[in-house]
């Protein structure tokens, strides 16, 4: 029930080896590289008249640039047996949790080889291999996470579920119900709030009655911590404790991370409403982390270059795979509504 602002200077860092630091940096670079590639492809073929429904990647596109520290700091503690549920802004978590990059890219490009065979799209990623899911409905990804946690604990495993929403979502009813139920039943779930200061155009101050959502842990008798810094190591430290507690049968925790929406709410958002734009570029967590790892002697030019080259290679491969994959067969548009209307049978 405590509110903790973690200062990275005071992080105990136990278990935070240089190798891990490097790997977390590389993960953040991979995520950013992936989203930069999406950004390019998303906008590439929407001109001359920008049309949201046109192009190789149509529809709403919510990118998570700036929020990589949250994903990487958490998922480092997880294996593919643990569950992660995300929101309309899911890529950073999907990648950090180890989702196959090709399947992810193919889904975003609406291809038959995608995670959901092109049916789901970027807000609806369901990956049985990594127990990853998401929901485009605010806060409604929390409740299913309870059920994954429930199944894990009923089966006597120490697997856990991590459920993520934005700070805007913390004012939705599902948030409250989920925290209470998880607390009463001591479910192994860690609730994460990504506070990027904005819910589309509405600033946190206009939507939220408390300065920290971690304060809300008191309403459920569970531990709550706020990480003030958008720093991967701070997230890693705080999330690690909560995840261990959940694995040990200690029940749920709530963590809010003060992170950063580096770009618009979705692509095409001119952000005219945004009063804090000026300082944003300087707050990009990746260069910040890069500097500190350089200062610590963990990164040098070569390692940075290697991280970027490797990321680019992986992303290029995934995007090339997506682009060269077949689009779904239109005659199969009504398949998969029921298990007994799967493609096979729909064909017949």
């Amino acid at each position: 029930m405590t509110l903790t602002s973690v200062n990275p200077a005071t992080i105990s860092g136990q278990g935070l080896t240089d190798a891990k630091r490097l790997s977390m940096y590389r993960q953040m670079v991979l995520i950013r590289t992936f989203e930069e590639a999406l950004l390019r492809d998303y906008h590439a073929d929407k001109s001359p008249v920008w049309d949201i429904g046109a192009g190789l990647i149509p529809g709403e596109m919510h990118l998570a640039a700036g929020q990589e520290p949250v994903a990487v700091g958490i998922c480092d503690h997880l294996t593919a047996d643990d569950a992660v549920t995300a929101t309309h802004r899911p890529h950073h978590l999907a990648i950090a949790h180890g989702m196959n990059l090709r399947k992810l890219a193919a889904e975003i490009f609406g291809r038959e080889t995608g995670l959901g065979k092109g049916r789901g799209g970027h807000m609806h990623l369901f990956d049985p291999d990594t127990h990853f899911s998401c929901s485009g409905i605010i806060a409604e990804g929390y409740p299913p996470a309870l059920g994954q946690a429930f199944a894990f604990s009923r089966r006597g495993t120490d697997r856990i579920a991590v459920a993520v929403t934005g700070e805007g979502a913390a004012n939705q009813g599902a948030f409250h119900e989920s925290l209470n139920l998880a607390a009463v039943w001591k479910l192994p779930v860690v609730f994460i709030v990504e506070d990027n200061d904005w819910g589309i155009s509405v600033p946190r101050s206009a939507s939220t009655s408390v300065p920290s959502n971690a304060d809300r842990a008191a309403a459920y008798g569970i531990p709550g911590e706020r990480v003030e810094d958008n720093a991967v190591e701070a997230v890693w430290e705080v999330a690690g404790r909560a995840i261990q507690r959940a694995r040990d049968g200690g029940g749920p925790s709530l963590i809010e991370v003060h992170t950063l929406r580096l770009w618009g709410h979705f692509e095409g958002d001119a952000q005219g409403y945004r009063t804090d734009l000026e300082g944003v570029p300087d707050r990009d967590p990746i260069p910040t982390y890069e500097s500190s790892l350089r200062a610590a002697g963990i990164l040098d030019d070569a390692a940075v270059a290697e991280a970027k080259t490797d990321a680019l290679a992986a992303v290029d491969d995934a995007i090339a795979f997506a682009k060269s994959s077949p689009v779904p067969d239109p005659t199969q548009a009504t398949a998969y509504v029921f298990t007994d209307s799967s493609a096979e049978e729909a064909r017949s």
């Binding site: 065979k117 409740p143 199944a151 599902a174 509504v337």
Partner: protein
């Protein structure tokens, strides 16, 4: 698919159960065989379900599998969804269908769509049970059927038993189904000791496991002059009226118990109506934009020329359910309204 009449070897069956007991027995049968099945909801434990759906189950299976929840429908239905995606087979009870508005997002945007959005990769094998119907002055927020809403959104099977035999067999089929199934039980067919009972609310029910296939209508009463398509409690009203009018020489009506709205057994409707040429639909849900229109359209889609008279729809005339007994009973599809409708299609 055409309608079948249930035939049971007569020797084996003498035991008579109420619909409530048959439903609970269906649950118990599957729970005994499959440890992944559990039941959760409000007052389903010690209370045994407000409408008797879980009578005796707590004693048999204990609080780990028959689970009372907080009044948090979004959270616990979502929990069931998540547990189902991990391979468990949860049954979640929404105490009254009238309360769907506090949790419908989990139901139609998640339970119903995850299989599709995942391109078939994830299954959601769960049952959502819920009580429906009026007739006992529970007024506008506790008397609705609302099955038209559940049936309108794709991805849910919707079953609505009218007899003890079907209540057990459809429950077993629903639990075994790999798809989400909404199981709607009318309070008036449950045979509750504290509510006016239909005469057929207690009937023979075989022991052991048996399935009633989901999607196959039942010819509750064969007839030649007109077709009454209906479901749930109204089946019994229709049967009573049909017997009376047959005896009076007015009409030999065929009564079809749809048993499920999704899948809708359109062939059964068509086969009967194309033969009789006269259609009455009896629906305790609201008249417009629901089941009754869909049944009528099923004929008009194929060949409206088989209809020898205007169809008659006996439903709640687009009014909230009034409290006062005398008002409620005129808006419900009661025997006198059904009789008038049959007389009208017969031109009698």
């Amino acid at each position: 698919m055409t309608a079948t009449q249930t035939t049971i070897a007569p020797a084996a069956i003498t035991r008579r159960l109420t619909t409530a007991k048959a439903m609970a027995e269906g649950i118990a049968t599957e729970m005994a065989m499959n440890p992944e099945v559990f039941y959760l909801g409000e007052d389903v434990g010690a209370y045994g379900g407000i409408f008797g759906s879980t009578g005796g189950l707590l004693e048999q299976f204990g609080p780990q599998r028959i689970i009372d929840t907080p009044i948090s429908e979004t959270a616990f239905i979502g929990l069931a969804i998540g547990a189902a995606t991990e391979g468990m087979r949860p049954i979640a009870e929404l105490m009254f269908a009238d309360f769907m508005g506090v949790c419908f997002d989990q139901i139609y945007n998640h339970m119903a769509k995850i299989h599709f959005e995942s391109g078939g990769a994830v299954k959601v094998p769960m049952v959502l049970t819920t009580a429906v119907g009026g007739g006992y002055s529970d007024a506008a927020q506790h008397s609705q059927c609302l099955w038209g809403l559940f049936a309108h959104v794709p991805g849910l099977k919707v079953v609505v038993p009218s007899t003890p035999y079907d209540a057990k067999g459809l429950m077993i089929s629903a639990i075994r189904d790999d798809n989400p199934v909404v199981y709607m039980f009318h309070k008036g067919v449950m045979g509750l000791p504290w509510m006016a009972k239909n005469a057929r609310a207690t009937d023979v029910v075989p022991e052991g496991a048996y399935e009633v296939p989901i999607g196959k209508a039942r010819i509750a009463r064969p007839g030649t002059d007109c077709t009454v398509v209906t479901i749930s409690l109204s089946v019994h009203h229709a049967l009573d009226v049909a017997d009376k009018l047959a005896a009076a020489g007015v009409a030999d009506a065929e009564v079809i118990d749809l048993r499920s709205l999704v899948p809708l057994d359109r062939d059964a409707i068509w086969t009967s109506v194309s033969r009789t040429g006269r259609l009455v639909v009896v629906d305790e849900d609201y008249l417009s934009f629901g089941m009754s229109g869909e049944v009528v359209a099923t004929i008009a889609d194929r060949d409206p020329s088989v209809l020898r008279a205007p169809v008659q729809r006996v439903a709640v005339p687009d009014v909230p359910i009034p409290y006062a007994h005398g008002l409620e009973h005129v808006v419900l599809p009661n025997a006198s309204r059904i009789e008038a409708a049959i007389r009208a299609v017969m031109g009698a």
